[in-house]
């Protein structure tokens, strides 16, 4: 992957500050330290920080088409580019690099907006059409690669990360209260929303086309949720065969690179399956990387070890202590650019560092399988509660809930009380948000820590009501599982797992993660498969287990899903936690930023320090409060706007008419 940035005057020529463009690009250098490039003319400036993966020698960006009318800066990978390139060559297009980036540019030249539907990949890019004076931005279907923008006074600024936009001092930096309301309910902001006012994120599967007269922002792909009557009905054998083929192809494509590709291995089904496919079909000697935890409740290393020796892969593990989490929490927030209610991105930040230290830049991951194949407990919980809602008095139905949460129901006699918790909303089983309301209503209790001022700014806004407006019209015709998968995938997967816990913490160390399960062919196939092949009885990811049956040890296939989590209060509030964290949470700082009620925050900290049995909501509260404080500190109060790091692009293309190289504007070349 890479980092891209740009400034475009929509309403006609104007001065583009090369200095600002340089700084916008320089601040993204962690995303690509190999090379950098700039294109500038009288309307637009494009900046690019490159992580070289395909065509290491001649792929310097920005890249142009034959007549140099179209220019592109690109982040990500197009996995089917060899086929597309061949078609384009047959159509008479000429290439000067062997990159996937150049393929996208020619495809856009040939097909315009329609090019997006032909791409299989993870990407965010900007194409400048210098003859039409038109800018085109697009983002991949699931939102694996980020792209932010803001339109201010006739100028659009865009960049992979928000910090790049803030390098323009005219762009105001202010926390968005609506985003806080969303994060403190859904664990992530909604699509298009960022933690900052007036800064937008292009949605997954969305493009933006803008010129002097029009702005066209549209989704070209929607997360598929077919109605029940659009389901296909393959036999489990047919489905297993089709998936085995697709998954193997998805992995094959994602191994395409001119550098070595590794894999993450947690010991769970998904990453084990991906690693096994690589090791057995493509690269016996693949390097895998896994996390171990000092806190045994979070550790999965015995399974990792078993898998690594079973597959005979070259496995490296990283032991994470509570202290590691506390000491890197603020660093990952600089990359995540939004408050988080968890600490789980920290170990992945440290793991990408290990990957980078081992000389690798590309990693395949198991991300997405739980959403697409029905792995999460919330899906099983939904099916059980739906079944239970039809006979709320039936004790046997109620008892099913205890089977999916063995940890919560450790004490069998506490059962009756806890079951009451899951009985909430049983009378509203037809609510389109039925699957997630318990979770969201429970999480949003932490809004109690919001200050009166923040509450006033949020006003009447209700983020759960907003979801009701956003769900597709035919939502009601979908199965309960489909609805739950949609909510989980479009909110939590795209805006947290692939972002704060995905791209951002990997790219912090110049590592690109590629999740084969999120190949759109797999998503589209699984969307049309009846729920029963995803969750059979209470057996999650039923069909995926069948796919992996032959290539993984039985105990790995059969083991119950263990969610990936990391300690929160044990690390953030440990006695030896950093002075910085203590400062960020002290009464004066809480009052100074003004987002939270300092008295309540004090009570929470006292409680967390005094008690052993901590409920999860309190853990989320302290992570959310601390991360908001840190984001405010890093991005509002102490943003390094004036920091002047030396930046000299490897490629500088200057087409400005009044430039010192003359009016021809044809100076182009490597410096």
């Amino acid at each position: 992957m890479c980092g891209l940035a740009g400034i475009c005057h929509i309403n006609g020529p104007g001065k583009i500050s090369l200095n600002t463009l340089n700084r916008m690009t320089a601040v993204l250098r962690h995303r690509g330290e190999d090379e950098s490039g700039i294109y500038i003319d009288d309307h637009i400036g494009l900046g690019h920080a490159r992580l070289s993966i395909i065509d290491l020698t001649s792929g310097t960006q920005p890249i142009h088409n034959e007549d140099e009318m179209l220019w592109i800066v690109f982040n990500g990978e197009i996995f089917n580019y060899p086929e597309l390139r061949k078609q384009l060559q047959d159509d008479g297009h000429h290439f000067y690099t062997t990159t996937d980036t150049e393929v996208v540019l020619h495809l856009y030249e040939r097909d315009g907006l329609k090019c997006l539907s032909l791409l299989n990949g993870q990407f965010a890019f900007a194409i400048w059409d210098s003859s039409k004076k038109q800018l085109f931005l697009a983002r991949d279907r699931m939102g694996i690669c980020p792209l932010h923008y803001t339109i201010q006074n006739g100028t659009i600024y865009f960049a992979s990360e928000i910090k790049s936009l803030f390098m323009e001092k005219e762009i105001h930096r202010e926390i968005n209260p609506i985003a806080l309301d969303q994060i403190f309910t859904f664990w992530a902001p909604l699509p298009n929303v960022t933690a900052f006012k007036n800064i937008n994120e292009l949605e997954p599967g969305q493009f933006l086309q803008i010129d002097e007269n029009t702005i066209n922002i549209k989704k070209y792909w929607h997360f598929p949720i077919p109605s029940r009557n659009e389901h296909i009905d393959p036999s489990p054998e047919e489905l297993t065969e089709e998936l085995t083929h697709l998954l193997s192809d998805a992995v094959r494509m994602r191994l395409i690179a001119d550098v070595t590709v590794g894999s993450y291995l947690s010991g769970g089904l998904d990453s084990s399956g991906i690693t096994a496919l690589i090791a057995k079909q493509f690269n016996h000697d693949v390097q895998s990387f896994g996390i171990r935890f000092e806190e045994s409740d979070f550790d999965e290393s015995p399974y990792q070890k078993q898998l690594a020796s079973f597959l005979n892969v070259n496995h490296k593990e990283l032991l994470i202590s509570n202290n590691d989490i506390a000491s890197h929490f603020s660093k990952i927030l600089w990359h995540a650019e939004k408050p988080i209610l968890r600490t789980a991105p920290v170990p992945l930040f440290l793991l990408s560092k290990l990957v980078s230290e081992n000389g690798l830049k590309v990693i395949l991951t198991g991300e997405g399988a739980d959403e697409i194949f029905g792995g999460y407990n919330i899906f099983k919980e939904t099916l059980i509660r739906k079944f239970w809602a039809r006979k709320p008095e039936d004790q046997n139905r109620a008892d099913l809930i205890t089977r999916i949460y063995p940890n919560i129901f450790k004490n069998p006699l506490l059962k009756k009380t806890l079951i009451k918790f899951f009985a909430q909303g049983l009378d509203k089983a037809d609510d389109p948000l039925f699957s997630h309301l318990i979770r969201w209503n429970n999480t949003k209790r932490i809004k109690t820590f919001f200050s009166d001022d923040l509450k006033k700014e949020i006003g009447e806004y209700d983020c759960i009501d907003e979801i009701r407006q956003l769900i597709p019209d035919h939502f009601d015709t979908c199965s309960s599982l489909t609805k739950a998968q949609y909510l989980e995938s479009t909110i939590f997967l795209s805006n947290y797992l692939l972002s704060s816990q995905g791209d951002r913490v990997a790219m912090a160390h110049g590592v690109e993660t590629r999740p084969p399960f999120l190949d759109h062919r797999i998503i589209e196939l699984m969307a049309r498969v009846p729920s029963v092949w995803k969750i059979l009885g209470l057996n999650e990811k039923h069909i995926l287990k069948k796919v992996f049956n032959g290539i993984l040890p039985k105990n790995i296939v059969d083991r119950p899903k263990n969610p990936y989590r990391a300690p929160i209060q044990q690390s953030l509030l440990a006695k030896n936690t950093s002075e910085f964290i203590k400062d960020m949470l002290c009464e004066t700082e809480i009052q100074k930023t003004g987002y939270f009620n300092s008295k309540k925050v004090n009570s929470l900290i006292r409680k967390l320090n005094a008690r052993k049995n901590i409920n999860e909501v309190d853990g989320m509260a302290i992570a959310g409060i601390l991360s908001t404080q840190i984001i405010d500190y890093q991005y509002i109060k102490n943003f390094p706007l004036t920091q002047n790091s030396p930046f000299k692009p490897n490629l500088m293309i200057d087409h400005r008419s009044d430039h010192r190289f003359g009016n021809t504007g044809l100076f182009a070349g490597k410096q």
Binding site: L413, K599, N613, N615, E616
Partner: protein, 81 residues
């Protein structure tokens, strides 16, 4: 002896973080979103630690734990024994 005040104070401090408790004494704490599935465990350890009692497995039922009245009556019974 009545324990309602102690219980109310515990709920305000631990689950409402200082907000006023507007709940009826007989209202369900779980259904009204005051405590969640893990919050029940907090409530139990509070009762055990504060009153020096051991709550037996068969006592951990909503009838004893899921409203201020229920907790109060349960404590009275338990402490009188």
């Amino acid at each position: 002896m009545d324990y309602i005040e102690d219980i109310n104070k515990f709920i305000i401090e631990n689950f409402l973080f200082g907000d006023e408790n507007n709940l009826e004494k007989n209202a369900s704490l779980l259904e009204n979103g005051i405590i969640d599935s893990t919050g029940v465990l907090e409530l139990i350890s509070f009762l055990e630690e504060t009153y020096g009692i051991t709550i037996e497995d068969d006592e951990m039922v909503p009838e004893n734990l899921d409203s201020m009245d229920n907790i109060n009556n349960f404590l009275k019974k338990k402490l009188n024994n």
